[in-house]
Amino acid sequence: MTTLDARRPSVEDDLALALAFATGDETALRETYDRWGGLVHAFCVRSLASRADAEEATAQVFVNAWRGRSGFDAGRGSLAGWLLGIARRAVADISAAATRERALREALEQVRPVEEDSSSPDQLVDRLLVADAMAQLRPEQRRAVGLAFYDGLTHSQVAATMGLPLGTTKTHIRRGLAVLRRRLEVDGVAPE
């Protein structure tokens, strides 16, 4: 059996945290930052050219989230999804400023622009949401999904690798995929 992080946060833990955050509990702010700061920062780092800009954007996301917490509705989506929505706006703001600055600089220096990462912010949000959801799958399920999705094993090979019956393996794959799909349906932003 694989060894997995015993402190894997459950869906129930995340919901309780989201509710505490919404009621203005400052301890919940810190916990929310500890829980999803990496997620938000990953989005900002991958979306912005400079590390300094990414750090500024990440900070701005949590500041804006805290100040605007009355706008968060736990019934409409996860706190992680909401935070990433705020992150998109923060990145767009900083990016627009950077673009104007760069355009000005280029006009002055007539320098050719460098190609930036072309994957859209929407796709990046979705990928990060899926990564977050994967981390919450039950360990056996997560392992089965990992083997089938990423290592390219057929379900028979997954079953053999994990020493599980075929039926159990297919169930793990089906349910794992359903969880990821539901996360994208609730919080995802990229068009199909």
Binding site: L19, E55, Q123, A148, F149, L180
Partner: protein, 227 residues
Amino acid sequence: MSHPSEDDLALLALGEPVDDVDAHVRSCAACERELLALASTVDTARRAELTDLPPPPPAVWQRIADELGLHEPAPASRPRRTPWRRPLLVGGAALLAAAAAAVSLLVLPLGGGPSPATSARPSAPLTALGQAAATGRVVLADGAERSLVVDTSGLPEADGFYEVWLLDLDQGRMVALGALDDAGHGRLTVPDGVRLGDYPEVDVSLEPDDGDPAHSGDSVLRGRLPA
């Protein structure tokens, strides 16, 4: 021909061949839709990075704490015991808008969650002065009683800021504790050397941004400290 099982659709979405199902899926709009939705999820998942996302550098939290004023105030600053400069006006420049729901500071009990259950802490209401429609609550937030949480609702946006004070009306003394944030909320430290028992009342005032540390005289909320 019956629809393929969900198990089989999941395998198809992963690109695994499943016997006898292809023909049906090609001709069934519902199954094709389902398959496309699952395949799209698989595609997104496969592009996702699964490595643990490292936390941001410590400086990032520092910026957040600075911006939101989450720090404890520096212990070196002395408490401002301002003499009575002007009488505390009741109802002051009453700017208060339509009533908002009273805010209860009872944090939802979290099963096994690490957050402190503020509902167990001594708390007391803050009532509006004059024609106000705002409400508030003050909670003694830790066992040593050096920390107060003030939460309000219905305070209107105004030029300036809202400040929290401890009052001793009998002796005409007061201590400034700090400002509320943009959401009308504050977690404030009682300065060393101030005994809560000496100051039975809590006051929230609207202060202009004029650099004058004295109480403006414009109190908007008042209450007694919880026992």
